[in-house]
Amino acid sequence: MIPMRIAILTILAFIVPATATAADSYEQVCRDVNSKMVKIFGAGGFVRLNNFGSGIIISPEGHILTVASPLLDTPELAVHLYDGRRFKAVVLAVEPELDAAIIKIVPEGKQPLDPTGLDLEYFDIAASAAKPPAGPGDWILGFSNQFEIALREEPVSVQRGVVSAYTTLDGRKGGFDFPYNGKVYVIDAVTNNPGAAGGALTDRQGNLLGIIGREIRNKQTDTWLNYAIPTHAVADVIVKETVNGKEESKTVTLKLPEFVVKGMKADYRAVKRDPSPLRAKVYTGITFVPNVLTRTPAFVEAVAPGSPAADAGLKPDDLISFVDGEPVTSITLFIDYLERRTKPGTTIRLEVRRKGLTQLMSVQLTVKEPPAPSKP
């Protein structure tokens, strides 16, 4: 025991002078990041819909990245810089699938697309996205104007924590109502508070990792989820393009830095989508046992001859336990997965328990068959 104490004392003796001269104190990091943060004021002001939010500066000109929230839905959008300067702002681009929006500062007397003449400190989104993403255990700092605590030139709030996970959220528990399906940073600090969405998530040294997301509660575990959308975010989005003088809608894969480049040029138009675009009608040919409980296990009752499931080798009494690596805890969850995550033509991987052994099989989904016409 005594040698241990001595060792600890020795460490302490070294730590004290070491920290006094440490190179990257949080103080400097906080100052640097704060100069790239803005406070956003817009629509809202009702219960659970704040009229304040956060954003990060992404160009010297005063382009700002924030989340796609109803806050932006006003002609009277305003931003406050770290030094207290106040500006009007306009929305240049919004992409709900990335949950991101670009707004731009408009100085008094200028038009929205005019050069602003500003020369601000900014985060380079492309440079951030070019680095590998952070992982579990990496220390992070969160910067945002949560709860509208900071006014005018007051610095935004800073929190510290670690990345808990870099993972996708959708389909995990079915308890989220979440627009963005890609990977997110889950954070162990309580960063996602009112007004925090659009804030910066940085590493220990102030390098941007992502933007802080909304307040989302997991209804099934009754926990609040703290997450940030990484600068590596990718989403399948529908865009309108003019081809040969004709306007067409098409689905493209869009990275956040691409959205930022286009959005800053006001050259991006998102397409309003069907409120439930992913509720596809796919056909497997499986009939499950009666779904009497909320969590009836996905036992197969029957398989239609010649159906995709029959082709794959599924048999009555099989228990579907995983689909594409996601646990299938109930029939309801399996059907929900099909509706949300697949479309006709998609091939799903199933892990099936049959007599105590696991069978792997792939099922290529087809279009849902119309109900057989009833006999006259």
């Binding site: 060792a7 808990s164 995990r172 575990t221 009754d222 296990p297 646990p327």
Partner: protein
Amino acid sequence: MHRTLATFALGLFLCAGFARGQDINAANEKAMKAATVKVAPSVVRIDTVGGLEIVGGGKSPEIRTGTGGTTGVVVSPDGYIITSSFNFASKPSKIFVTIPGRKDRLEASEVATDQTRMLTLIKVDATGLTVPTPIAKKDTTAGQWALAIGRTLDPDVEHLPSVSLGIISAKDRIWGKVIQTDAKVSPTNYGGPLIGIDGRVFGILVPMGQRGSKETIGYDWYDSGISFAVPFEDVLAKFPAMKAGNELRAGLHGIVPKNPAAEYLYKLEVGALQPKSAAEKAGIEVGDVIASIDGKPVPNYSTFRHIMEPKYEGDSVTFKVMRGDKELEFKDVKLLGASTAFINGFLGILPLRDDPGPGVPIRFVYPDSPAAKASLKEGDRIMKLGPPSPAGAPPRPARPLANRDALATTLASMAPGDEVQIEVKRKDGDKIETITLKLGTIPDVIPAKLPMPSSAGKAMEGQPKAKGLDPFGMGDKKDPAQKVETGYIERANTAKDRSFWLYIPSNYDPNISHGLIVWFHGIGQGGKDGEARSQLLKQFCEDHHFIVMGPRSASTDSWIPTETQGVVQDIRAIMKEFTIDHSRVIAHGTGNGGQMAFHVGFNARDTFRGVAPIGAKLGTTPGDNIATQPLSFFIATGDKDPNVKEIEALKPLLAEKGFPVVVRVVKEAGKDTLDAKTFEELQSWMDSLDRL
């Protein structure tokens, strides 16, 4: 020895690092990531399929647990994995385990549960698994870095597990059972390890609360900076017993303290004894004062709990007690597991309420009850009673009773079949008779018509505060002269974002103790049914002195169990504000509200005495009957309710646990309608809950 050297080496390494001007944060971050990498092979992911729907919420009418994957830790190379029982609250039909570095997902079976620490041991068919190194309890101190590790957020076990960073906040929490940390712990890492900065394991993350040890307890502390882990050292010590398939249950002693609220002020005096409990069998008696356990002095109830709560069934302890000025020793008292269903002994009377005593006046005598057989009559006053005599021995002299509460406490130590002596002062005249009778069981019969008045109307006088019960003078401040607002009242707790309605009968009188009906609305009602519900109960409330309270669920859709805490807080505030009879607080509700009534009934045992769900399945693991916290059930539904069979089956299920249960199935009715007859029965049941 090796460890000391390793720490020393680490210290030297760190010192050298600092000497080179490296930054302490970078060193810490690096060490933490290395710790996570080190423990990762021992942290497995567990997925469950199927199972009961029991807790949880969302839009579904059922109450259920989250269905995401959970976490476990390897405790033995040959396939044994320990995890939190929370993950098994829903009794899954299949359990799958994914182990880092192994391709196949394995099916697991449940081996045993440690009910006191909320741990479950499961087994997969595998060998060569990596058991992490424990950090000894003696080396665990507050302030050390601690990382909570889980496998829920990322289903791929080849990735690093999820991490939440904190420090050790304290050890020996919850009566010495767990380590406390401020790392974020929730269903995302229950069952996972809490590790130190060197990758060794402090303990296994579990939900736990001060109040009890049900599977779902601990919800209240999500995201609060207060979380718990069972020391890994303790887990490994109990592993052989669990491996052998033994269910580990708490070691019960059966001692009920006289003043449970005064944890620190006084020596522990035995106020009641659970019949057939370890302490009673050993010969400890009501009135004994506990002096020491296993040689350790017991200055108060808190110390008693610190010593006794970590004990398991089968552990032996030696009590020293003071009986008068005599010191007695009870050697090697073997603690029992869950007490066999305890059934409260029944005298067969309804006492007249709010009588300052001495003695207990009788309002009603149950036909064919022990009291009736002993020819007790309405208006008689029971002056003395008990204690029970051992079988075959002559009756022991009765002891004076101060009032109704004293009678209830005395009877709580007695079981059906116990012979007691009572002294009765007859209604006419001052003649006192001594009678011996044998206690019975609470009958299914609900008395049709109860005599009025039910109260002597003297709740505010008499009832002198027993010395020591209220040392800080924080007792109720009900002023009889003050005018109370009556009728339908809206209340809101804006700070907590909660609201409820209240119905106070127009004839409210603080001198009369009132029953409290807590109505849990059904799905989608959101409390909109408050006015109609209070109209329905208005006459009953006025005649029988009841207050109705209607809390609202946070979501309009349905109740979720996590709301229990808030609701109970609001109920306690109402119990302070009005004169409430603690023996008639009832959880009542329909559908999902009925399930919530079951849930709060079982989880707030110190508050509720009756549960009356209409058209609701159980949806909760039933607890055991507790002598001093009796709970009665009135369960009803219609014969067209698709769940009618399941609801009828609750009668034997709950009766087996020792609870008095009445089940009524209304003919030609759906699940949430009662006919006039059943509704009247329900009212009589509510009014007779203080039967003794």
